[in-house]
């Protein structure tokens, strides 16, 4: 075979392949528009890429649908409660009360978790006790939980299916007008992944665009000093903009446990009293604090680690000076630590119109 003949064959083969591709592309009526996450510079520079499931890529239509669903009380049995009712934008998507009020006036025993930077939860374990794997799976529970939205998926999908807008929005996002629970959860997960917070004063400081006050700088040193605050082992550092390890620890809240936390999920007594480390971003907006919202102020939290630790069998060995009930910070050290912690709050995040229903 001559080279000319071979080239001809390759050309014909390539044209055939391209032709087939065009045909298959044209056969799609709705092709959602890819909308990859906009990764902040510090995240790009310092940590691993976000976790995006291959079966649920970010698209403009999917995110838009997820946002509409997130703010729509149609997901609850009596059309009164939306995701956003307990995950409020001005509160960095947590509730401003200790426990949240379900549609029947019932309250749970956990504080609503704030929602941001969820795509960087590498272990993919969600809720305070990590009981759900994957963000879309997390969406399933509140809708049917009797003390939250208290609905059924049959009822929810029926309402959405009969809605004048939703079938077309699902068609645009997923190529089908047939609505089911999986697509609802996928859309909401897409929206939740866009909730990225990365523009605090401390972020700007790390990027060279802001200066810390002496109090904030000293507070950061206390945070990073193993002999003082020793916060960094669980909450990360200037090299980890998540400000959480997304792991589970018993941080010395109680001597005995009415809520077993991770232990209730794993069945391992060694996990009793362990809860997920929350991010320290946006503390200015996320009170009350801890898994059960027991602390109303940042001062309460700092006092806990300074002189309020409670010993128990499963207390994390990273808790320091437990015999003295904590690390014994001075009043000035506490004030400085608070100043630093507040520098991790991101007012632009809660004002972002993309994250609001207004």
């Amino acid at each position: 075979m001559t080279f000319k003949r071979f080239s001809f064959l390759v050309t014909v083969f390539a044209l055939g392949t391209a032709s087939c591709n065009n045909e298959s592309a044209e056969s799609y009526i709705n092709t959602p528009t890819p909308s990859p996450l906009q990764i902040p510079k510090l995240f790009q520079d310092l940590i691993l890429d976000p976790v995006i499931p291959s079966n649920n890529p970010q698209t403009e239509e999917g995110i838009s649908l997820g946002k509409k669903l997130f703010f729509d009380p149609i997901l609850s049995a009596n059309n009164t409660l939306a995701c956003a009712s307990c995950h409020k934008t001005p509160n960095a998507f947590t509730d401003d009360t200790r426990f949240s009020d379900g549609i029947d006036g019932l309250f749970g025993n956990r504080n609503s978790m704030p929602l941001f930077n969820l795509a960087w939860n590498y272990d993919n374990k969600f809720f305070w006790d990590g009981r759900d794997f994957g963000l879309a799976n997390q969406v399933f529970e509140p809708i049917t939980n009797p003390i939250e939205m208290h609905s059924t998926w049959e009822a929810v999908t029926d309402k959405l299916q009969k809605h004048p807008e939703y079938p077309e929005l699902f068609n645009a996002a997923f190529g089908t007008r047939t609505i089911d629970s999986v697509l609802v959860s996928k859309a909401i997960a897409q929206f939740e992944r866009t909730l990225i917070s990365a523009n605090s004063k401390f972020d700007k400081f790390l990027l060279g665009n802001a200066t810390l006050t002496p109090e904030e700088a000293n507070g950061f040193n206390i945070f990073m000093d193993e002999s003082k605050g020793d916060c960094f082992h669980c909450h990360g550092s200037d090299n980890n903009p998540l400000w959480t390890d997304n792991k589970f620890h018993n941080n010395g809240l109680d001597t005995t446990f009415s809520d077993l936390g991770l232990g209730n999920v794993t069945g391992d007594p060694a996990d009793n009293g362990k809860f997920k480390t929350p991010s320290l971003r946006n503390l200015a907006f996320t009170a009350p604090y801890m898994h059960d919202g027991r602390f109303e102020t940042i001062e309460d939290v700092i006092n806990h680690y300074s002189e309020g630790l409670q010993n128990s069998e499963t207390i994390d060995p990273l808790m320091k000076k437990v015999d003295q009930r904590g690390v014994q910070l001075s009043s000035q050290e506490k004030a400085d630590l608070k100043a630093f912690l507040l520098s991790l709050s991101d007012p632009d995040f809660i004002k972002n119109p993309d994250f609001s229903n207004l």
């Binding site: 064959l9 994390d316 060995p317």
Partner: protein, 256 residues
């Protein structure tokens, strides 16, 4: 269709031709280091964690709740003294049972080597603050006031103290530092190269490396957890003791 078959046959010929070209690298093989963990003769996995079932050389009864450590720069030494460095690092996480084995992306030529070794931690030149995104993502960093960079090991647990009360310990190995602050000083290196001895590599090989955890508490310093238990990162004296005790921690378990 006839043309397609012709093209297919031609492609296969080219493909096999390319494979023949790679015959000259056939003696390059993968080397894997697999890490297992022991307390004396008992193997330790995460299922053994969280109970006070180990007694150290000093007589402290202790538990392990978290164990992870970093190894880097596997190196083979030829019989003529020439060394071959396999770049890369691996964070062994016994708590989560991840990265218990490590295969560097570089291969090694078959043959007899007078030594194979790795670095416990990072050499100073590679212990660069914030440089490794995967390690930042798992909060493996050392505060800049202590020189920055990364932990070498985190061994956490509890022990019965002299008052017979359960107390936490954090045996965290890092680069020893004095004068914490903007300009820390470094009294001596505390990373170390672990020499495992001679090895013959004939094919893809797995080297099983044993960490004897009890040795961290044993030799030459009989570690008393009542003396050194927490806040050891800024304690250069404790770091140097960890470095000294670490010399006898690792050994080859077997070679497959």
């Amino acid at each position: 269709m006839k043309h397609f078959h012709t093209l297919l046959i031609l492609s296969l010929v080219i493909l096999f031709g390319c494979n023949s070209d790679s015959d000259d690298t056939i003696s390059s093989v993968n080397v894997t280091m697999a890490f297992s963990h022991y307390w004396e003769d008992m193997q330790v996995t995460n299922s053994d964690f969280n109970t006070l079932n180990y007694t150290n050389d000093k007589g402290n009864l202790l538990s392990i709740e978290r164990l992870r450590y970093l190894i880097s720069d596997i190196e083979f030494t030829k019989t003529n003294g020439e060394t071959i460095l396999l770049e890369g690092y691996n964070l062994v996480d016994v708590t989560n049972q991840t990265n218990l084995s490590f295969t560097p992306y570089q291969k090694i030529l078959t043959g007899t080597y007078s030594n194979v070794s790795f670095v416990f931690g990072f050499v100073n030149e590679k212990n660069i603050d914030g440089a490794y995104n995967d390690l930042n993502a798992v909060s493996w960093n050392v505060p800049l006031m202590l020189g920055g960079g990364y932990h070498y090991m985190q061994l956490d647990g509890k022990f019965l103290n002299s008052n017979n009360e359960s107390q936490g310990y954090n045996y965290h190995a890092i680069r020893a530092a004095d004068n914490p602050g903007p300009n820390p000083t470094f009294p001596q290196d505390t990373f170390f190269r672990v020499n495992l001895g001679a090895i013959t590599i004939a094919a893809d090989t797995e080297i099983s490396v044993a960490m004897h955890i009890e040795e961290w508490f044993k030799n030459p310093y009989s570690w008393d957890l009542n003396v050194y238990n927490q806040m050891l990162m800024p304690n250069s004296e404790a770091q140097i003791l960890m470095y000294q005790n670490g010399q006898n921690v690792f050994s080859i378990d077997r070679i497959n």
